[in-house]
């Protein structure tokens, strides 16, 4: 793809975008329901964000300012690759600052900085079906959703507690949306689950290979499944960020030598950098010039 003029704005043709927008609107109208859509073959592999890319392409307008993160970071290779794709095919402005972005495409994280009305958060979803690993058949899981037959979901949690004394699901932690559909929030750590709830932004989920789109409209309820006597608890490494000293952000563990030394740093690179610019310094950080 060297000759860009051969391609439409944001790569997809307008008819395809309309088809995807219809699926998005249906998803917004039925929060948590997986809307089948005719996912297109994209010039990047399935499983690498084709669903998110199609949703983003259908949402983008020339005035948008796009941010792309993978594992919370703007500079991981796949985030770079997707950001470049849209710079090339849509020519939109890009940013690393969460609050400046109008559209944010993400894989595996929700930014630490609270989102605001008018922002759209697009998730890349590998397996949209929260029941998939309990029941491999699509025909079967579709019926289970239709009937709200979610007993099996709790059987899994029950087994966790009986074996480990607690619910042993650390990411991709299923939620029940607006009292109806059980939804897969994509493989975000369960630390991020509370941010799904009552979020001011529109949250859209795209699964390209599995041909599904679903959504959480602003200020939706999304209850992490649990038991009354074993309530859901968001968790993270019991540290503060070694660079910016944030006590409450999700941390990546970095191995610093072969003697077992390690440090913990914010997975949200924009959040960490902003804090350091504002003068916060962690035990292993250095002060940064204000920007």
């Amino acid at each position: 793809m060297t000759d860009q003029s051969a391609y439409n704005f944001a790569y997809l043709d307008e008819q395809t975008k309309r088809m995807i927008r219809r699926a998005i609107l249906k998803g917004v109208a039925i929060p948590g329901y997986q809307v089948p859509f005719a996912s297109r073959e994209m010039p990047m592999p399935y499983g690498w964000g084709t669903g998110g890319v199609q949703v983003t392409a259908a949402c983008l307008v020339p005035e948008d300012r796009l941010k792309v993160i993978d594992q919370g970071a703007d500079d991981t290779t796949n985030a770079v690759s997707i950001r470049r794709f849209f710079q090339r095919t849509a020519g939109v402005a890009v940013t690393e600052a969460t609050e400046e972005a109008t559209v944010i495409q993400t894989r595996h994280r929700i930014p630490e900085t609270p989102l605001t009305e008018g922002q759209i958060l697009v998730y890349q979803v590998p397996i949209p079906e929260p029941l998939r690993f309990l029941e491999p058949r699509e025909t079967e899981t579709r019926k289970m959703h239709e009937l709200e037959d979610y007993g099996l979901m709790h059987v899994k949690l029950y087994e966790d507690i009986s074996r480990h004394g607690q619910i042993a699901t650390a990411y991709d932690y299923p939620v029940k949306v607006e009292g109806r559909y059980v939804m897969d929030p994509s493989p975000i750590p369960k630390f991020d689950n509370p941010k799904l709830v009552g979020n001011a932004a529109i949250q859209l989920f795209g699964a390209g290979r599995e041909q599904r789109i679903y959504a959480l409209p602003p200020y939706s309820e999304a209850i992490s499944l649990d038991f009354e006597d074993y309530p859901f608890a968001a968790s993270k490494a019991d540290h503060a960020c070694d660079l910016c000293a944030a006590p409450d952000s999700y941390l990546d563990e970095v191995i610093t030598d072969d003697q077992g030394s390690r440090m913990f740093v914010c997975s949200d690179t924009d959040f960490c950098a902003s804090r350091r610019k504002a003068g916060h310094v962690g035990p292993m950080g250095t002060p940064m010039a204000g920007g």
Partner: protein, 265 residues
């Protein structure tokens, strides 16, 4: 409480079956089956293998689509033909009002899930959300089917055949279903194990006032459990009536043969 058959007859039938037929190619699976089952009644269906009794049970429970006929169940919203129901509605019945005990417990249990999880599943399916209470109910039910409480976290594949079958029964009865289908519940078990299971089932049937349809080739099972009996041969019902009546005074020659062969054992 008057539990005589006549008292039961006064109420509406729980299940009404009309002209039910199922064919496999040119071969008859079951044909022209008619009966009513009343609340609190246990109906036995006997016959040798190939008589159509298992086909009939599958059609009744919605596992097989019959080619003709009606299976009208008294749902909480009134009588409904389950043959014409959308599959979704039928499955809703299957996890609330109905229960199904398979001959092979492996077909009716989740072998990768603990005994407690197996019993708790139906409770969770209808909304139970307190782990402690679910576990308590599971342990209680394990006790009622004579499985020790300390086995609650073991998986069924660590259980003997008889224990697996008792676990399957507990898993099915924990939510108090209105109608239980049983397919050869004692089949494949040793004779001594069978006796214990039968004894247990009889106790549960009496205590809970269960409505059930039991398919078996074993007349001892129906003698002990069933109020009424249907005898099948070649897909047709050849004789039906009160259990004692049919077994003690069989009218059809096939029933006579069946009864006499059992007496020889």
């Amino acid at each position: 409480m008057d539990t005589s058959i006549w008292a039961k007859m006064k109420t509406q039938p729980l299940l009404s079956v009309r002209d039910l037929s199922k064919f496999y190619g040119g071969r008859i699976g079951c044909a022209d089956v008619n009966f009513d089952l009343f609340p609190g009644e246990v109906l036995g269906i006997v016959g040798e293998s190939g008589s159509g009794k298992s086909t009939l049970l599958s059609c009744l429970a919605g596992h097989l689509a019959p080619d003709r006929g009606e299976v009208i169940f008294a749902t909480t919203e009134g009588p409904r033909d389950t043959v014409l129901m959308a599959e979704a509605a039928r499955r809703r019945l299957a996890r609330t009002d109905w229960a199904y005990v398979h001959q092979n417990p492996r077909d009716g249990l989740r072998m990768g899930v603990s005994a407690g999880g197996n019993v708790g599943e139906r409770l969770m399916a209808v909304g139970a959300r307190h782990y402690g209470q679910i576990r308590e109910a599971a342990v209680d039910w394990l006790g009622r089917v004579e499985i020790a409480a300390d086995r609650v976290d073991d998986r069924p594949n660590a259980f003997s055949g008889g224990m697996q079958q008792r676990l399957q029964i507990a898993r099915n009865l924990v939510t108090g279903p209105r109608l239980v289908f049983m397919d050869e519940p004692t089949g494949g078990l040793d004779v001594s194990v069978q006796a214990r299971l039968l004894d247990l089932l009889r106790g549960l049937v009496r205590e809970m006032g269960l409505s059930a349809i039991i398919v078996t080739h074993d007349l001892a099972v129906v003698r002990l459990l069933a109020d009424r009996l249907m005898v099948m041969k070649g897909g047709y019902v050849v004789e039906q009536g009160l259990t004692d009546q049919v077994l003690d005074d069989p009218q059809h020659e096939y029933t006579q043969l069946l009864v006499s062969s059992v007496l020889q054992v």
